[in-house]
Amino acid sequence: MSVLVGRLGSGAIELLRILGHHAFFFAELIRACPAALRRPYLVVAQIHAIGNRSLIIIVASGMAVGFVLALQMYYALVTYGASESLGLIVNLSLTRELGPVVTALLFAGRAGTSLTAEIGLMKAGEQLAAMDMMAIDPKSRVLAPRFLGGIVSMPILAVLFSSVGILGAYVVAVLLIGVDAGNFWSIMQSGVDVKRDIGNGVIKSVVFGFICTFVALYQGYEADATPEGVANGTTRTVVIASLGVLISDFVLTALMFSTP
C-alpha cells in the first residue's frame, strides 16, 4: 500500500514538474514574442516556411476529403430525397470540424515534425548555444518567429483546406453526379452563418495552431542533443499535438455549438 502511495506521489510530483516546465517555457516564449514582432520579416519568413511548404499536402487532402464527403453524403441524403442539401452539409462539416481538425493533424505531421527536428538539430549542433554566447536570445530570434508563424499559418491553411474541399464536393456532386448547381450553392449560402460557422472554425484553427506549434517547439528545444533525442522529440510532437488537437476540439465544439 505504501509503495502504491509512494508511486502515486512521485507520479504527481513528476506531472507537476512537467507542467511547471511547460508553463515556464510558455512564459519565456510569450516574453520573446514582442521582440520577434519588431522584426516582422522573421515572422513572414516563417509563415512562408511553415505555411507555404504545407500547401501541397493541404490542397491534396482537402480535395480528397471533399470528393469522399460529397459521395458519402449523397448516398445518405438521396434515400430521403434531400440531395440538394449536399452543399450545405459538406460546407458545415468542413468549416466547423474537418477543415480545422484535419488541417491541424496534417500540420502536426508535416510542419510540426519539421520544426521539432530543426530546433533539435540546432541544439545538437550547438547553434542555439552559439547564439546565446553571441548575446542573442535564441527564444526571440529562433523560437518566437516560428511560434507566431505557426499560429498565423494554421487558420489560412484551414480556410484553404475547406475551400478546396467544397470545390472537390462541387466537382463530384454537380459535375459528376448531377446535383443541381443552383441548389448546391444557394442552400449552402442560406444555411451557413459566417460568424457562427466559419468564424468559429477559424478560432478553432488558431487554437490548434497554437497547440501544434507550441508542442513542436517545446519538444525540439527540450530534446536530448542526440539522434535518438531528436527522433523521440519528433514522435512526441505528432502524438501530443494530435491528442491536444482532438481533445481541445471536443471542448471548443461543446463551448461554441452548445446552443442550436
Binding site: G125, E126, Q127, A129, A130, D132, M133, M134, A135, I136, D137, R141
Partner: protein, 282 residues
C-alpha cells in the same frame, strides 16, 4: 596540489592586469559528480592562455562557466573585476557582447551561407548599413584566409574551413575575450598549424585576450603565453609557461605532456577486478 604545482606559487599565477579571475570555483552538474574542484586561475589581458587536460576533466565546462552558461556551485569568476552572475541575463548579455567563442565543431548556422554566418552578429547587434557589413565580413574572412569562400554554403566547406569561418564569426565584433573550445580537434596537421598561427596572430593584432582549451600539447605550447594543466579530478595540476610545464618532472605533468601510457593518469575507467568479471583466479 602536487610538488610541481607548488613550484608555481599563487603569486606567479596572479597577473597584474587580469581580464578573467577564477577564484576557488567548484562546479558539478545537477545530480552529477563534481566536475571542477576548487579551481583558481587568472587570465592576463592580451595574453593567450591554454587550459590543458585530458578528455572529461572539465575544460569545456570551465569555458562555459566563464561565458555564464552555468552558475558556479561555489567560488566566483570575475570578468574585468565584475563577478559573473549566470542568473542575471541582462548582465550576461552585456558581458557576452564583449566576448567571442569558437565552438568545438564551429556551431555554424547551416541554413546560412559563409558570408551570412559571419554577418550574423553584425546584423543582430549593430545598425551598420549593408556596404559596411560587407566590408567587415570580407575583412574578417580575409583574416582567416577564406574571403574567396564567402558565397559557399556551409555544407560545401570542410571541417577545418568551418572552424576558420566560426573564428571569423567569433571576431566579427572585435571582442575583448576570445574563448576557443578545442580548436585543433579533428584537424589535419596543416590545418592545425594554420589554426594555431591564426589564433596567435589574431590575438596579437586585435589585442584580445584568448583562452584556449585543448589537449593538443604541441600546438598549444607553440602559441600560448601561459598554460594550466588540469587533472581528471577537476583540479589544477600545474600552471606556468610552456617551458616550465615542458621541463616539469612531476609524474602527472610529464605523463600528459609526453603522452606516456603509464603513470598516475589511468587508462582504465574504475571497474571491478578482472577476476570478478571474467571468473578468472589471479
Amino acid at each position: 596540489m602536487t610538488e610541481a604545482a607548488l613550484a608555481a606559487p599563487e603569486a606567479d599565477r596572479s597577473h597584474p592586469d587580469a581580464l578573467i579571475d577564477v577564484e576557488h570555483v567548484v562546479f558539478g552538474y545537477e545530480g552529477g559528480r563534481t566536475i571542477l574542484n576548487d579551481i583558481s586561475m587568472t587570465f592576463g589581458r592580451g595574453k593567450v592562455t591554454a587550459i590543458l587536460g585530458g578528455s572529461g576533466c572539465g575544460k569545456t565546462t570551465l569555458l562555459r562557466l566563464i561565458g555564464g552558461v552555468y552558475a558556479v556551485t561555489q567560488g566566483e569568476i570575475r570578468f574585468d573585476g565584475k563577478v559573473i552572475d549566470a542568473r542575471d541575463m541582462t548582465q550576461l548579455f552585456v558581458l557576452r557582447r564583449r566576448l567571442g567563442m569558437l565552438f568545438q565543431f564551429g556551431a555554424l548556422f547551416t541554413d546560412l551561407s559563409v558570408f551570412e554566418n559571419v554577418a550574423f552578429p553584425l546584423r543582430e547587434h549593430t545598425d551598420l548599413d549593408e556596404p559596411m557589413i560587407r566590408d567587415i565580413v570580407l575583412m574578417k574572412l580575409n583574416a582567416v584566409g577564406l574571403r574567396g569562400a564567402a558565397n559557399l554554403r556551409i555544407s560545401e566547406v570542410s571541417g577545418g574551413m568551418a572552424r576558420r569561418i566560426a573564428l571569423a564569426r567569433a571576431i566579427a565584433l572585435d571582442p575583448e575575450l576570445i574563448l576557443y573550445d578545442e580548436p585543433f580537434a579533428g584537424l589535419d596537421p596543416i590545418s592545425m598549424g594554420v589554426a594555431a598561427n591564426l589564433i596567435r596572430t589574431l590575438n596579437d593584432t586585435t589585442g584580445a585576450t584568448s583562452i584556449l582549451v585543448s589537449h593538443d600539447v604541441e600546438e598549444c605550447f607553440s602559441i600560448c603565453d601561459y598554460a594550466y594543466l588540469m587533472s581528471s579530478q577537476g583540479k589544477v595540476v600545474m600552471h606556468g609557461t610552456a617551458k616550465q610545464l615542458a621541463d616539469s618532472e612531476d609524474p602527472e605533468v610529464r605523463q600528459f605532456i609526453r603522452g606516456e601510457p603509464d603513470g598516475p593518469i589511468r587508462f582504465h575507467y574504475p571497474a571491478r577486478p578482472l577476476s570478478e568479471d571474467f571468473g578468472v583466479r589471479a
